[in-house]
């Protein structure tokens, strides 16, 4: 690696910056030859109550912005920070349930929301004026900074005193994150004081964790031609990826060949659905539930669900909400969660058996849609999976022949689950059962399940393994660009009132463009005015994989989506107002980000295009 600071790094660090939990894993950078190096999880010291700091492997990704009346004075100070004015982690989660107007949750989902300005202080969403809000970028930064400071504190107490900022860090993002969201994640890390950071996609990290657990046996578990589906359903998001196994010079190689779209659907939705069912049932019996009690019901439902899922003999589990005031018994409300409820809501509501032609319902487009998180309109994970696998039918990268059905459905041979939701046997079996039905109709054998160890912490551990692999101590998955990217070019047609000039899409980054490569687009030249900001419309596709560099696409339906625009100001002292012809150059960096550059014909001057993450204006 070119980065000089890696030479001083004592540790390789994997960080899972999750929607609901953050996890940090570490492994020594230098180990004796032929040794792997143990990967260990960092226990994060955090406030779990006022005045009480304890260590937990998961740091809940929640931020609470207290005012002076929230906590007794001095009760939220941390060993490394007594002047604390924000609360992160377990206590933030607990307190946030009582006071949502000062509670920041799902910052990660906001980070990839194009409907808002992601660098503007907008969270908590719709909070009253007196709350000093934070931007999605700042919130993500806060979690990373918290990890840095707690790590540094613990190291100064007992360890070698190694600062996290000096370590080599592998930070995971959803495979479905677009380049602007990846860029923002990188900025958050930078702001948090982490400078030596490489991004990695979460489903890949989950797969690395599986390889790490298997040791050398993994080569026996997969073979050339296999297609592995990584199905990652976490607390807040659902993420799919396909990894193909091929062979090069007698060695097995892995290629990430497809990633899905960003789907805001996860375990929290499922628990809330169960709570709503019980709320409805109680109301039918004449017991009304207020918001506070719903929070408690939500939590009790999760506990009851987990108990029912882990003990198949239980037919039902009581769910009790204790009285709110001092009259605990007097106000107790009791109901029960039945096994049939779980089957009804989780299996039929979220994981129904469906055909691979059943597509998820589309997002409703209401004229005055309230801006907020764009939760998936359809809660059926299996339908999203059907869409993902059939989208791969439309195009194929030339290099890999994916196994397909006659009508083009990508047919995986193996499946790896990740995320807390997929810990439940019945849900994994349902996904496998549904896939097997599709595979059977295509004339293929049933799918094979690859078993992962700990679905909560796999991503962080896998990221640390990826770091080892980059040091030559493990196998690497080839990924490259997860989408095809385009620059929008407005065609020069006579203007017609009321109609926008048709947009053409110039491919600037082909799907799978490898990390560490650059490419110049010669087919199109742009004349930009020096000293004036220029904006480029930016588009992407997760499904068009055949478009090569410089391809100009004139017609497309919904397989290309517009992204946050890019902007650049050519600065060239003394030449203001002159028009300078430039060409575009794209660069997939080693650290997993994408850069686009304007290069002047003289080739000496170049300017980087920056993502404009302000909200997109409606046309």
């Amino acid at each position: 690696m070119s980065n000089t600071s890696t030479k001083t790094a004592q540790y390789i660090i994997g960080i899972d910056l999750g929607t609901t939990n953050c996890v940090l894993a570490s492994t020594p950078s230098f180990v004796p030859e032929d040794e792997k190096g143990e990967i260990s999880l960092f226990s994060v010291p955090q406030l779990i109550n006022a005045n009480e700091v304890a260590e937990q492997k998961l740091l809940p990704s929640f931020l609470y912005l207290p005012n002076e009346y929230d906590f007794p004075k001095g009760s939220i100070s941390l060993p490394w920070n007594t002047e604390q004015n924000q609360v992160v982690g377990e206590l933030a989660r607990k307190r946030g349930a009582e006071n949502p107007s000062r509670f920041v949750a799902s910052a990660k989902s906001w980070l990839c929301n194009q409907g808002v300005n992601r660098t503007q202080a907008i969270l908590p969403w719709q909070a009253p004026v007196e709350v000093s809000k934070v931007s999605p970028l700042e919130a993500s930064c806060t979690y990373l900074e918290y990890l840095r400071r707690s790590w540094d504190y613990k190291e100064s107490q007992s360890g070698s005193g190694a600062h996290l900022s000096e370590q080599e860090i592998f930070l995971t993002v959803p495979a479905s994150f677009d380049m602007a969201a990846r860029d923002l994640t990188m900025k958050a890390a930078e702001l948090a004081g982490l400078h030596n950071v490489t991004l990695l996609e979460e489903p890949q990290a989950a797969f690395y964790s599986w390889i790490e657990n298997q040791g050398e046996r993994w080569r026996k578990q997969v073979k050339v031609g296999d297609l592995i589906l990584v199905c990652d359903v976490g607390g807040g998001t659902t993420d799919f990826s396909l990894i193909a196994v091929s062979e090069e010079q007698g060695e097995l190689t892995l290629n990430r060949v497809a990633v899905g779209e960003h789907i805001l659907l996860g375990g929290d939705n499922m628990d809330l659905a169960l709570a709503r069912l019980l709320q409805f049932r109680l109301q039918e019996k004449g017991t009304r539930i207020d918001n506070w009690q719903l929070q408690s019901l939500w939590y009790r439902c999760r506990v009851a669900k987990e108990r029912l899922l882990s003990s198949p003999d239980l037919e039902s589990e009581p769910v009790t909400i204790l009285g709110k005031g001092t009259g605990l018994v007097a106000g107790t409300i009791t109901t029960e969660l039945k096994r049939s409820d779980i089957e009804q809501i989780l299996l039929e509501g979220f994981f129904p058996i469906c055909s691979y032609t059943d597509m998820p319902a589309k997002q409703r487009r209401v004229a005055l849609q309230e801006i907020g998180l764009s939760y998936a309109a359809d809660p059926c994970v299996t339908k999203h999976l059907a869409k993902f696998l059939s989208q791969q039918a439309r195009s194929d990268s030339q290099e890999y022949q994916l196994r397909r059905s006659e009508d083009g459905l990508a047919c995986p041979t193996a499946i790896l689950f990740n995320g807390g939701v997929m810990k439940a046997d019945i849900l994994r079996h349902r996904v496998i059962g549904t896939l097997n039905k599709w595979l059977e109709s295509a004339g293929f054998e049933p799918i094979k399940e690859l078993f992962s160890q700990d679905l909560d912490t796999a991503v962080a551990c896998g990221a640390a393994y990826y770091g080892q692999a980059r040091h030559g101590r493990g196998v690497r998955i080839r990924g490259g660009a997860s989408r095809t990217y385009y620059i929008g070019i407005e065609s020069s047609m006579p203007a017609i009132p009321g109609f926008a000039a048709p947009l053409k899409a110039l491919c600037v980054v082909p799907f799978g463009m490898e990390e560490g490569t650059r490419a110049k687009i010669h087919s199109q030249e742009f004349g930009l005015v020096v000293g004036e900001p220029a904006e480029f419309r930016f588009l992407s596709s997760t499904t068009r994989k055949k478009d090569s560099l410089g391809t100009l696409v004139e017609d497309w339906s919904d397989d290309i989506q517009e992204q946050s625009p890019l902007e650049v100001t050519l600065s060239l002292p003394g030449q203001e107002d002159s028009v300078l012809p430039v060409e575009l150059e794209s660069h997939m960096t080693e650290i997993g980000t994408l850069e686009l550059w304007c290069v002047a014909r003289d080739n000496e001057h170049r300017w980087k295009l920056e993502f404009n993450v302000r909200e997109r204006e409606e046309e």
Binding site: N49, N51, E52, P318, T320, L322, G323, L328, V329, T334
Partner: protein, 180 residues
């Protein structure tokens, strides 16, 4: 004699960590004299009050935690007579579960005698009457044989959070006021 006594005292202390009676006699001392310490510098009244308050706060801390996590005080202070067994039962299941979790989190409980209740056990010589209580027809000297009626409980580790400064822990549960 001085040197001889000094050497004898030195070795007695080195080998048995105590002074035998004959040496004490030689030194014209009573064993009680050894226990007499210099009177401690008596703490100032302010400090004494502070220490007392701290001890009191410590004793309230676990109650505080059990109310916070399991609402134990609410339950114990409530008049439960008017409610049906089912209603009480439902509340108690909940309370029992969270109290158990809380106890597990902050202290480690182990039985004093780890045998099955109802089976015969032997009480060894030199047992601590505070840890083992003999009941029934207590005659003879240990070792004694008997039936284990209660295993006993002991705390083998306690990990309570540090007490915050200037907090007497007398608020067991804050009053809650919902602002709308």
């Amino acid at each position: 004699m001085g040197l001889g006594l000094a050497i004898k005292t030195f070795f007695a202390l080195l080998t048995s960590n105590t002074l035998p009676d004959n040496l004490l006699k030689e030194m014209h001392l009573q064993r009680e004299d050894l226990k007499k310490e210099l009177p401690p510098a008596s703490p100032s009244p302010a400090e004494q009050r502070k220490r007392q308050a701290q001890e009191q706060a410590r004793s309230l801390q676990l109650l505080n935690i059990l109310q916070r996590d399991a609402r134990l005080i609410d339950f114990l202070s409530e008049d439960i007579k008017p409610y049906s067994d089912a209603q009480v039962g439902a509340a108690v299941r909940n309370l029992h579960e969270s109290s158990q979790q809380t106890l597990k989190r902050y202290l480690k409980l182990e039985p004093v005698m780890d045998s099955t209740e109802g089976e015969s056990v032997t009480v060894a010589e030199g047992f601590d009457p505070a840890a083992i209580k003999l009941i029934g027809n207590v005659t003879g000297k240990p070792p004694l044989k008997g039936i284990l009626r209660h295993k006993g409980w002991q705390v083998t580790s306690l990990d309570l959070p540090a007490l915050p400064e200037n907090n007497d822990q007398q608020i067991l549960a804050p009053a809650e006021v919902e602002i709308s």
